[in-house]
Amino acid sequence: MIFVELFTILTLLIGGSFLIRTSGIQGWILPSLGFVMGIALMLILGTIQVVTNQPTTPVSTLFLTLLIPIGIWLWFYNKGKTSFFRIVPAIMVLSAFTAAIIVLHAAKLLNLTPDSYRYAQVGSLFESGNMGFAQASLLLKRLIAVPLMHAPANLADHFFLTSITPLLALATAAILAWFCQKGLQVKQDSWWAVYLFPIAAALLLTTNQFFVYNAFYVNGHILYAVLLLLITGSSWLYACNADVSKTALKLILFLTIPALIVTRPEGGLHVGLVLIPVFVSSAFPLRLKALLSAVLGTSILIWNGFLWVNFSAAGQNAPIAVTGMFCGGLFAFLFIPFLYSRLVHYMTPRLLSVTEIVLWAGLVIAALLEPKVFTVSIHATIINIFFGRGMWGFSLIMIGALFIGILIFSNTPARIFLRFPITTFIPLGLLLAHLREVPYRASMFDSFNRMFLHILPLAILFIVSSAATHRWGFFITKPSSKIDKQRFEA
């Protein structure tokens, strides 16, 4: 088993590192970012295997995850556009990962719930080439990302890789610190601030007990959190003109969007939402916006089309969630010609406020139609967050208070990219309860309670990014012109 685990993790690390290195990323973040990018690439390749009905086995997926990036790197290397890894740091990183895998494997720390066995079931079906037996309803709820991550364990007759989620959690903390550092470097000139704030951010994340629990939990929350962080953080750094290769930021966006869509059912909807600031910002070229929309639309259409076919094959009607997401994917494609039309002039930052108003209005309407779902969900959420049932302790209260304080008293460039996904999370999460027609419950395993983990790294990044604010205070003047108003909205 240890060899399978070593082979899998090191393949993801090496493949992802070659890929991200080719795009221009260097330095201490390379292994962490490379590891997550390796996972994202593997998820995309595995999903393609599944939806195209190819023979499924993690061996071929892993080899492709290794060989494709090496091939791309070699191509660029021959053209003199990239360089080789430095030998000593590379050996040190490989040794550190190997040691961590051995220790984590020996510790066998795993948190398992019935959900974990559902993921294990799909992972096993993938490894044994029996994906045809996976029911559409199972795939609709569990999707494919977590099963693909753990599928290689079946090669050694196990269900789970014990080290992959803890290493992913560590990589999340490192990536959060990197985003903080790169973001602060845009406006900060104090060396201590550029180092201390990222360290504080990583510590704030890794000391959160719910995060620690999830670092050993066989589920997709840590994966979802890091992918969401990568999408929003990359957009933010791109808009800030941070000292990071724009090719790398674009590559991160292109790889993480499809990976997030196959991680959780609400992934497609959530990605569409967090990309709205990108679409209204002039910092992103039109071509990039069109490509992002195409990646979003293609990913949603392929996965939901696959589910649609599976439901039809089983003689069932596809649920409204599948049909709705399919329409969403089509909309993402129709959005591309819109970007090149004169109508694009209506794409102003005001759209962000409109989106938030629509979400809250939708929640009000849903609450009026189904008051019980709303009241039970709100009650459960309050108990989970404020009374300790959700196992968050005081951490969410503290982070929430910091978030609100910073929202009022500071302002940093382009922080809308970080703020918008957080402020839309509450209405979106509560609306999902109405869409599934089941209220949330007071438990640490409640869906909404666990979903707070998805925005936790992002909220910490938002808080830390305010260290770059040039003025702490509050507004006194009312905006008189449209341009001032837009500044306030930002």
Partner: protein, 191 residues
């Protein structure tokens, strides 16, 4: 004002006159840093509802920090224990189900790690007239828990995949290695 200007405004930070300064820039970030470290301390404060160990042991559905592969009645709900036991005790087996059996084929392949699963139209009573659970049972389940001390001595015949059949008698599932049973000839040929 064109769209480009509007969007650039959206990305700019407000001018100084937009704000009343509460504290200086340096002081503000020092306060923020202190608040961050205070939040870290808050994270580490022992909080009863947050206690990692007690939280996990106090909730039966939470799997524990345990050795991989251990099947716990608390963790495994309903029939999942049966499928996992199949995986543990008889990996890569050929499984024959009676027609109309309600076992989940996806779980037999997935959690049970079966090599093949096929349906056969057979009546356990006629095929196994001498079936005696105390002698022949390899694994028996009622809901989530394994019943009886039956040894898991299956799938060990020279490493070849064995053929298992699944029976259900008196609401108890039996997974039986056909090599241990006095099968009637008709069924043996049917395999």
């Amino acid at each position: 004002m064109n769209i480009q200007d509007k969007n650039q405004a959206f990305e700019k930070i407000p001018d100084k006159e937009d704000r009343v300064e509460l504290v200086s820039w340096e002081c503000g970030r020092l306060i923020l840093l202190m608040l961050l470290f205070f939040a870290i301390v808050i994270n580490l404060v022992p909080f009863r509802a947050l206690n990692f160990q007690s939280g996990m042991s106090g909730y039966p559905a939470i799997a524990k920090l345990a050795k991989l592969g251990i099947i716990s009645g608390d963790t495994i709900s309903h029939r999942r224990g049966l499928y996992l036991a199949l995986k543990q005790t008889a990996p890569r087996t050929n499984i024959i189900l009676p027609t109309g059996c309600s076992l989940d084929i996806a779980q037999l392949y997935g959690l049970g790690r079966a090599e093949t699963v096929i349906y056969r139209n057979y009546d356990p009573k006629t095929i196994f007239p001498d079936f005696n659970p105390s002698n022949h049972v390899v694994a028996a389940f009622n809901g989530s828990r394994r019943l009886g001390p039956g040894p898991f001595a299956i799938a060990k015949n020279e490493g070849k995949p064995v053929t298992m059949i699944v029976l259900k008698r008196n609401y108890v599932w039996y997974i039986v290695d056909t090599s241990l049973l006095p099968l009637n000839d008709a069924f043996r040929e049917h395999q």
